[in-house]
Amino acid sequence: MRPDNAVVETIDQIITDGVRKGILHLYTDETTVNGNIITLKGKKVVNFGSCSYLGLEFDPRLKEAAKYAIDNYGTQFSESRAYVSINLYKELEELFYQIFGAPCVITPTTTLGHIANIPVLMSSRDAIITDQQVHNSVNTAVKLLASSGTHIEVLRHNRMDLLEERIRSLREKHKKIWYLADGIYSMFGDIAPVDEIYRLLDDYTEFYFYVDDAHGMSIHGKNGRGSVLDKRKFHSKMVMATSLAKAFATGGAVMVYPNKEMARKVRTCGGPLITSGPLQPSQLGAAVAAAKIHLTPEIVDMQNELQERIKFANLVLKKYKLPVIAENNSAVFFIGVHLPKVGYNLVRRMLDAGYYVNLGIFPAVPMKNTGIRFTITRLHTFSQIEQMIRTMAEELPKALAEENVTYEDIYKAFKIPLPEQQSIDKGVASVINQALSLKLCHYKSIREIEKKEWDELFANKGTFDWNGLQLLENSFRHNELPENNWKFDYVIIKNLVTNQPVVAGFLTTAIWKDDMLSPGAVSENVEIKRLGDPYYFTSNVISTGSLLTEGEHLFIDRTSPFWKDAMQLFFDQVNLLQEKHNTNSIVLRDFQHVDEEFESFLIDNGFFKISMPDNSIVNDLSWNDEEEFYRSLSKRSRQHFREDIKKYKNKYEVSIERDPVEEKIDHWYSLYENVKNNSLELNTFTLPKKLFSNIANDPSWETLSLKLTSCNNSLSEKNPVEKKTVCVVFSYIAGDNYIPMIIGLDYSYNKEYKVYRQALYQLVMRAKMLGKKKIHLGFSATVEKKKLGAVTFPTYAFMQIRDSYNAEALATMSLMGKAK
């Protein structure tokens, strides 16, 4: 899917919503903080969001060292490290050498450390494999390499079997294969399978490991060297980045290398080490004090104290049966709540009860995997931990009931088995729905619905009135290829009192190419793989509308006070269908007017917004003849009309085809295949031939053909069956609308005779002749369509993805394509 600005807009919407609800972008009220109690908006709360797991930030030795450094060096020593560094840097690097037993370089932040490391250590001859959940800061640095043509791909999270496969496959072509991962993942708190990674490092000489162990630093391993080095030696083909701003409780980051030469090279060539400012003396002073503590047995006691609290938290979580996503000895915990709206609700409730916990939300986690992230530090008392978890266990069911979500939904979203005790709340949704007096009707064929009832909602909206859907059902059932067999579902939700529909729409379930909206260059690469496996990077998708319809597929009566409740019922039904048809994604398509309330509602329910290609509509057909049409165009479009359309008009014979013979349909189909194979920007499966026969014999459709009356080539030799047809367009006629849906072209004449442009013009003329008010010219080729008076409308879809691996892999391919 093409994210463009829609992802930024979605993030903006989510965060702004959180800010509005008073749970994000908060500031503490007090002028001093000295423990784990903070005041937010006038309320004292226990802070369960700190990553300073050992509580060293309040250690008097660190505070004194910071003050001493300021007294001796000032607040900043403002020179690039390429020139001069204060000697505290040297002292700290020596202390880190003792901690890690390996050469180190200190950077101002972990992100800047990655930016210094990755472009220096990895080259265009290498291949980079990033774990699907590696920290965003690592990906930020990897993006810098895309421009050098380095091969970059994404690995399913922690899948070592697949990693080994990829190493074997890439080692022939690439000098080094780097796997980039986190030691402890920052959101779910799960851990990288380091033993298995070390085995791969030993088995494959080309394989290298780059790891960010920010959340493991200080709390694990000898001298607090982290989770990766806990009971392991530093591997000779590993580079480690770790943060000093978490349990180490100062600022900055430390990069650790297997040899001096690598450290020297990054120190010399790493961008931020040349051009960025240094770490402040106060931070260096505190870091020296912290490092000295790490080199004493005291750190072991601190680690043990924290581990006891982590063990206790795990025990309490089990007792209260909360949906914990990963249980281990990391200090990061994640409680799944499924949808953003439940997350907002629960964080708010926790704040009211006196506990600050983090909201784990998109883009840090997938939309439907929203959760409550909390951390345990050495400063927490056991009763604080117990009370916080007990409160969460009491508040979660209330938040779920309020947002009409069940425990079952949570476990399904995270793909973890539902404990028996928690299946009892399944009926919550239906009870609420009954109280709201809404009735949901589900049908599997348009024939089960009264034509009048359906057309009252959808006539004039596109090709999906009752007749149009009957043709689709006839065409996309009982076909040989699985991609041409769609499942149809119709949902109408009515207000029981008025018997009026509040929400209605139809859905199709079909196999989609995951790269459907990816750039053409990406699809070109994927299509090469599909020669061997036609279903490579494809997914089962349930979508409003279908791959052959465009327009407002979902009727929503926004004037009804129950529209949100009806949508909730609609989501419930779509979720059921998703289970039944086993689909990876849900797509609600073709929204042109998305207001803030609607967008916020969909995001709360776990959908994210994506941009679809702009839709083009000619909606002014008030002119009377060709001359008036010509005058209605802009100056530039008039020139285009004169040079590219009018000039060639007489070379064509335009006709509406009736009762075609089979051979003629075969020829049209071959013209369609030309367009299909040339249109990777909207990459879909090839439509079945049966559809074209059905269209040709359906009175709601008409077929417009363009034949060349004379040309330089011998058409009869080229095509003995349909001698002169160089273009065919299949259009649906619905009320005041003329809707061209499928086009076929002979590209060998397109350049010389401007066939496509002529076809667009003839469609406009045909619609006018039929007395229509609008022509829906659909997606793509917007520039050409604008020249004929079309207006473009930005169009959006809302999407939920269960497994986003394919989307992420395609985004990475797209990034590489852009760089090239």
Binding site: N304, K311, F312, V316, K319, T381, F382, S383, E386, R390
Partner: protein, 76 residues
């Protein structure tokens, strides 16, 4: 929160002592020789604690097998 004896014993002596202070109830405290001996009740069991006064170390924080422990200490 209710602990079982097994759950309680997962933790080290220092933590057990903290858990007693935070979740338990002190039943008895006596100075015997160079030790402070105390008994706590937590959940549905008793825990015996020995603190060495000479080095301020915890020597024992163990659930007692015999619930008549209170009678034994009261008799001392």
């Amino acid at each position: 929160m209710k602990f079982t004896r097994g759950e309680f014993c997962q933790f080290n002596l220092t933590t057990r002592f903290k858990l007693l202070k935070e979740f338990g109830k002190s039943i008895l405290k006596k100075k015997i020789n160079m030790r402070i001996v105390s008994v706590y009740r937590i959940s549905d069991f008793y825990v015996e604690v020995y603190e060495n006064l000479a080095n301020h170390e915890l020597e024992k924080v163990e659930p007692v097998k015999n619930n008549r422990v209170l009678e034994v200490y009261n008799d001392l």
